[in-house]
């Protein structure tokens, strides 16, 4: 009975507020629909290939960057001058082969 009352009250409030009901639905849980289709597997294979190549390229870049050495003092200067987090400062320095002046100029023009 109590709950009935509540829902009634809600319905009354809802009269002036039709959007609220829709908004409520936004957070509903819903199981996603299953679809049928023959060649889903082929489709997957077609895209996995491209994905692999991308990943390789990225790994190469990371590898190259990892080999660059940077000085701690240089990182300190970048952090202080541009108020960036340490990892970001290190990365910029690495991208500029550890050259402080080049890194500062790069951040200046970013």
């Amino acid at each position: 009975m109590d709950e009935d009352k509540d829902t009634q009250a809600q319905a009354q409030q809802g009269k002036h507020n039709t959007g609220a009901a829709d908004l409520e639905k936004v957070t509903d849980y819903a199981e996603e629909k299953e679809i049928s289709g023959g060649n889903l597997d082929n489709a997957i294979n077609a895209i996995t290939d491209k994905r692999r190549r991308d990943a390789e390229q990225k790994a190469d870049l990371e590898k190259r960057l990892a080999s660059v050495k940077v000085k701690k003092e240089d990182v300190d200067v970048v952090v202080q001058e541009f108020e960036v987090p340490r990892p970001k400062a290190e990365r910029v320095l690495k991208e500029n082969n550890g050259d402080l002046q080049a890194a500062l100029t790069a951040l200046l023009n970013a």
Partner: protein, 1206 residues
């Protein structure tokens, strides 16, 4: 589902049920199941975690976290526990933490779809696009049979701008799907096309559109996309055809016309004119083809011809925003002249012959002249000819004094001239002409804020806010940002920096909320396939802080923080005391008085604030209770006192400055503010960065001046800190300076050069003076000030705009940029600027300003001196309302009042009260007669005569009545020998200054008032009394007396040193029974919403009454049951106050009962309440259920409402 400690089958099933209940948001049920499992396995980790999750949704945050943590501790290898903990972190907006939790969960169950999905949602929320792509890939691998898997994966590439793969995935997917004609397919196709077009594949896009034409339901979008692609492919004739069609659909769309023009390759003005003429004929109602020629025509004779036609059409029709439409032409001097000439000639002719010109046949209606005046007023206001503008607007007002727009323009003219108080006055006038117009209300409120009238602005704004909450809170809740920004600026001007910052932070939080709000849409939009809109939303959210609202608030905040950095708050306060040295004694006295007053005021304000805060806290507590699934974490409260004393003001700027630099880098102002911050932080490279940005932007005169100032400042600073800098940093700076200052001149030289080139604008003069002073403060102070003061008002070459003049004064007088200077200097600057802006308040003396403010306040519609008039207005309004209500009744409109309701199913009383209410529309009378009816009928035997006898066998009566209209109340208690107790209560209210009379004196009073004395015994009460006596006087209300009251009759004597508390609880328990003490409590609301309330009883058998309270602005409540307990809690008052803060009657009564049973768990009783809208509710405790009766228009008989007790 692998778990380190699995449950037996029965509990495992229960656990599944919990999951299902949770998904369907049946939290209460889920908690019951949780309880069952925990009874047997109190340490079961996953169950504990689920409990935490559900508690979080029912808003018991602290407990939720505790449960989830405990759950996790008991079962760290469970994905459920980790998942739940992640969800809680997510709800707390700790996204990074949440992602870590999800990753842990996936370690134990790597293929759990739900966790992967939740992870993907978080990744897109924080725009970890690469992470999102990888998670999406996993989801596709696991669930290739779901549509969302494919689209989500494609979209991840789309958002990474990897169109090839995105297209590839979409194409592969579409190949497998049969085409259907429905919304979702249509959206999918449009989305696919969006990706094509963004990838620049227009051929493919066109082909795709052609092929799928019949599946795309949004025809407008289809055509627009096709036309766009055709243009890109240079197939202009095809595109032109489509645009012709689109124009036919919507002949007022400017873009279509512009595009069509582009497609048709129109070469010169004649061709274009011809084109628009043709369309003007074809679409006689469309404005676009008529206005466009005015914009591009350079041939003045042709322009005048078109203008003539355009203006006549507009004036005859009466188009208020005409001036706004034409303002874009004013940048062209010739066109401006032509317009002025034309409109002035119209004015002359219309005044004399009521025609536009001598050759016109038709006479114009009188309103045409009105619109011409209206236009001319705005025209001259634009040209800063204040007097002429005022002349015209006054003429217009005289002509038609009821047109709201006229007063708004009048206010605007004053505003532009700097007379802010007069502006407020006229906006207020406009507002009072049409109080139902929200736009004018908002304008008026804004003008008040501009004039620093914060309180008044709030009062005006409150006409459109919810009554139950404080206007500022309501506006905050509604994210009303213009109000907050304008308030912040007003507070800033008044030196209330804490308040100003508070408002700015509020705006910043709104933007944060807007960003948070997208979370739910990540899954929803995918499910509903609204893909294009979804991508557009993501892109909008990405740069939401580029919105002007954010810019304005951020600018104010940074300026305040800079100011607080330069002169921290404590210092400012001391200044008041330091400055007293060179004052005369009388001045000193004045100042001291002023300070005292200020202190007093400050204290009062503080107290008020504290009260408000208290209220707010309570409110937010209640609110938390109300909204069950509010997921927002509680935010730190913004305290002005704290905000204006930041530990590091410059660091605080970051919250505002960083987004500006990211999203509003096109504004020079952004980098100017940035420069000021970095200057104070000693960050040469960041200063250079700001300078570079400023240099790259196109600049106005003012901005060039600002750039000059910043560069000079930098050079001055650099020469000081040069030696201390890191080598590389210095090298970079030197390198950049080559571009910024190519001639590498000294600052002094640069400044002189700048002065020579720009001496005819005041803004340049200001910056020149600033640099001059900075380069040698002690020597150049006088010179700099002299420059600003000695400007010639007659020098026509020198223009000073109002904001610039204001800036100069603030700089000298308030910011003390040029150091402390003589009051005379400030005065002469003030009077000099006054010669440019004679009516601007700010350039008058303080005294004059005060007088202006005062005279403005006196005429405001909300001022107290005008209250009587206001009430008159209200009365007229009320009469109108009454008539309205009457008509509404006629058409049986379903309003909730009138209504009568009372405790218990005493329907006879309800019906009686209803009849009286219908006849008299007097709620007081209705309540009185309703209660009387019950007294007469002896409802339940516990109301009225011959009911519950007291220890002496005599029936005594209690009653209370309260009138919401007057907030008067009267009551009697222990009334003997008078039957109509409620009427006696009313007499107490109406014929005494008392509110309560008791016992024999009450009886005497009643007799005096003409009530009949009579015996209140009735066979029932006598019988009861005898039975009671025979039952050793059980039950009774005695406590801690001997002989033992539970066994014997009296007389009793007190016992001391007993365990008081426990005994009382025990005894109270004994007589809890419905029949022993009932009260009728009744509420009546008449057709105007006036409320009365009353209660009547003969008390508990062997005694004291419930309680009732009403506030006409809110509602009413009354109680029944154990009156002794009720009196200790004033629950009726509590219910009404709770309703005032926005609770519904049910919630309010529930809350009040909860408060009682927290302290008195054995309480038996009930509360009913009705709000002023006639919504009603009840709550009870100690019974199984409680019934009350009510009657409204909608029923022919009293109805019974029934609530289950807590």
């Amino acid at each position: 589902m692998p778990s380190s400690n699995p449950l037996p089958t029965q509990e495992a099933n229960l656990f599944k049920k919990i999951l299902r209940c949770y998904e369907q948001k049946q939290y209460r049920k889920a908690l019951q199941h949780v309880k069952e499992i925990l009874k047997k396995f109190p340490d079961h980790g996953e169950t504990l975690s689920m409990k935490g999750l559900i508690l979080n949704y029912t808003n018991k945050k602290a407990e939720a976290f505790e449960c989830a943590q405990k759950g996790l501790k008991n079962d760290v290898r469970s994905h459920v526990c980790w998942h739940v903990y992640g969800l809680l972190q997510r709800a707390d907006r700790k996204y990074d933490e949440a992602i870590k939790c999800y990753r842990n969960a996936l370690r134990w169950d790597p293929e759990n779809l739900q966790i992967l999905r939740d992870l993907s949602l978080l990744q897109i929320q924080i725009r970890d696009l690469e992470g999102y792509r990888d998670t999406r890939y996993q989801l596709l691998q696991l669930r290739p049979t779901q549509r969302v898997s494919w689209i989500g994966y494609a979209m991840s590439y789309h958002l990474l701008n990897d169109y090839d793969i995105a297209n590839h995935i979409l194409e592969e997917f579409c190949k497998t799907q049969p085409k259907t004609v429905d919304f979702e397919m249509s959206e999918l196709l449009l989305y696919q096309n969006m990706v094509y077009q963004e990838a620049g594949l227009y051929e493919r896009s066109l082909k795709h559109l052609e092929e799928n034409k019949k599946y795309i339901l949004d025809k407008l979008r289809l055509e627009e996309k096709r036309a766009f692609a055709f243009i890109k492919l240079k197939k202009l004739s095809e595109a032109a055809k489509i645009y012709e069609d689109l124009i036919e659909r919507n002949p007022d769309n400017v873009t279509y016309f512009k595009k069509l023009e582009e497609c048709l390759n129109l070469e010169n003005d004649e061709e274009r004119l011809e084109f628009y003429k043709k369309h003007a004929e074809k679409y006689p109602r469309s404005d676009v083809p008529r206005k466009m020629p005015l914009v591009f025509l350079n041939n003045m004779s042709e322009f005048k011809l078109r203008l003539d036609a355009y203006l006549k059409r507009a004036f005859t029709k009466g188009i208020p925003p005409l001036f706004k439409e034409l303002k874009c032409l004013y940048t062209n001097e010739n066109k401006l002249k032509a317009i002025e000439e034309k409109v002035l000639s119209f004015e002359k002719n219309l005044e004399s012959i009521q025609k536009y010109s001598g050759d016109c046949e038709q006479k114009e209606s009188p309103t045409t002249l009105l619109w011409v005046y209206y236009y001319l007023a705005q025209h001259f206001d634009y040209l800063k000819q204040t007097n002429k503008a005022l002349d015209y607007i006054n003429k217009a007002i005289e002509y038609t004094p009821t047109l709201v727009e006229l007063y708004m323009v009048k206010g605007k003219i004053y505003k532009h001239a700097g007379d802010l108080y007069e502006a407020v006055r006229w906006l207020d006038e406009a507002q009072s002409l049409d109080t139902a117009d929200r736009f004018i209300n908002y304008k008026c409120s804004k003008y008040m804020l501009r004039a620093n009238m914060v309180k008044e602005a709030e009062e005006i704004a409150s006409k459109f806010t919810r009554e139950s909450s404080h206007p500022a809170d309501y506006l905050k809740e509604m994210q009303c940002m213009w109000y907050e920004t304008e308030s912040a600026n007003a507070y800033k001007r008044m030196g209330k920096f804490g308040e100003a910052l508070k408002k700015c932070h509020q705006v910043e939080r709104h933007f944060q909320e807007i960003i948070e709000d997208q979370f739910d849409f990540h899954s929803y939009c995918m499910r509903k396939m609204t893909l294009c809109s979804y991508v557009e939303m993501l892109r909008l959210e990405d740069k939401i802080k580029s919105h002007p609202f954010f810019f304005r608030a951020a600018k104010t905040a940074i300026e305040v923080y800079l100011r607080l950095h330069d002169r921290p708050m404590s210092e400012v306060e001391n200044e008041l005391n330091v400055n007293t040295e060179n004052l005369t004694p009388s001045e000193l006295k004045k100042l001291k008085n002023k300070q005292k007053k200020q202190q007093l005021k400050a204290q009062q304000e503080k107290e008020k604030q504290e009260q408000l805060e208290q209220k707010k806290k309570e409110l937010s507590k209640q609110k938390n209770k109300e909204d069950v699934d509010v997921e927002q974490p509680t935010e730190e409260e913004l305290l002005p006192e704290k905000l204006e004393r930041p530990e590091n003001a410059l660091e605080e700027c970051n919250r505002f400055l960083k987004p500006l630099e990211e999203f509003a880098s096109q504004h020079l102002e952004t980098h100017y503010l940035g420069f000021e911050v970095y200057y104070r932080k000693n960050r040469p490279l960041m200063m250079i960065k700001a300078l570079k940005k400023m240099n790259s932007l196109e600049r106005t005169v003012k901005q060039t001046a600002k750039f000059h100032y910043c560069l000079s400042k930098f050079l001055l600073k650099y020469s000081q800190i040069k030696e201390t800098l890191n080598e590389s940093v210095r090298a970079v700076v030197e390198n950049e300076l080559k571009n910024l200052n190519p001639s590498s001149e000294s600052v002094e030289k640069m400044n002189e050069k700048f002065f020579k080139e720009n001496s005819n604008t005041y803004e340049s003069l200001i910056e020149y003076a600033k640099v001059l002073y900075d380069s040698n403060p002690s020597q150049n102070q006088a010179k700099a000030l002299d420059l600003l003061t000695n400007v010639d008002a007659k020098n026509e070459k020198l223009s000073i705009s109002y904001p610039v003049a204001l800036e100069a004064l603030t700089l000298v007088a308030e910011a003390e940029y040029f150091g402390k200077c003589d009051a005379k200097v400030v005065e002469s600057l003030r009077s000099k600027l006054k010669s440019f802006y004679p009516i601007a308040n700010i350039f008058h003396t303080t005294e004059e300003q005060a007088n202006q403010l005062l005279s403005c306040m006196q005429v405001l519609s909300i001022n107290s001196s005008q209250v009587s008039e206001l009430t008159d207005k209200m009365e007229i309004l009320m009469n109108v309302l009454k008539i309205l209500v009457f008509f509404l009744k006629l058409v049986k409109f379903s309003s909730n009042y009138p209504i009568v309701l009372n405790t218990w199913p005493f329907t006879n009383a309800t019906n009686k009260a209803w009849d009286i209410l219908l006849k008299t529309d007097d709620p007081l009378k209705s309540v009185e007669s309703g209660c009387s009816e019950c007294e007469e009928l002896r409802c339940d035997g516990t109301v009225g005569y011959g009911g519950s006898p007291d220890e002496n066998g005599e029936t005594t009566l209690d009653a209370l009545i309260m009138d919401g209209r007057t907030h008067d109340a009267g009551s009697v208690a222990g009334l003997r020998r008078i039957k109509n107790v409620i009427s006696v209560a009313r007499a107490v209210m109406e014929h005494t200054k008392h509110t309560l009379l008791v016992g024999d004196l009450a009886t005497q009073f009643a007799i005096d008032m003409g009530f009949q004395q009579q015996d209140l015994h009735y066979f029932d009460s006598l019988e009861k009394y005898i039975i009671w006596l025979n039952n050793s006087c059980q039950p009774n209300f005695r406590l801690n007396v001997y002989p033992d009251p539970e066994k014997f009759c009296g007389p009793y004597k007190p016992i001391k040193n007993l365990n008081f508390l426990s005994n009382k609880e025990k005894r109270l328990n004994k007589y809890v029974s419905k029949k022993l003490h009932d009260t009728i409590g009744m509420i009546a609301i008449n057709s105007y919403g006036d409320i009365s309330v009353g209660t009547s009883t003969n008390g508990a058998s062997h005694k004291i009454p419930g309680g009732a309270y009403v506030d006409n602005d809110v509602g009413a409540a009354c109680g029944t049951g154990d009156g002794d307990t009720l009196m200790k809690f004033l629950p009726s008052y509590q219910v009404v106050e709770s309703m005032r803060r926005g609770m519904t009657p049910s919630e309010a009564t529930n809350d009040a009962i909860q408060r009682i049973i927290k302290k008195k768990p054995h309480f038996m009783g009930a509360l009913i309440a009705a709000d002023k809208y006639g919504n009603h509710g009840a709550s009870c405790h100690g019974l199984e259920y409680f019934e009350y009766s009510y009657r409204t228009n909608q029923s022919r008989d009293a109805e019974i409402g029934r609530v289950k007790c807590i």
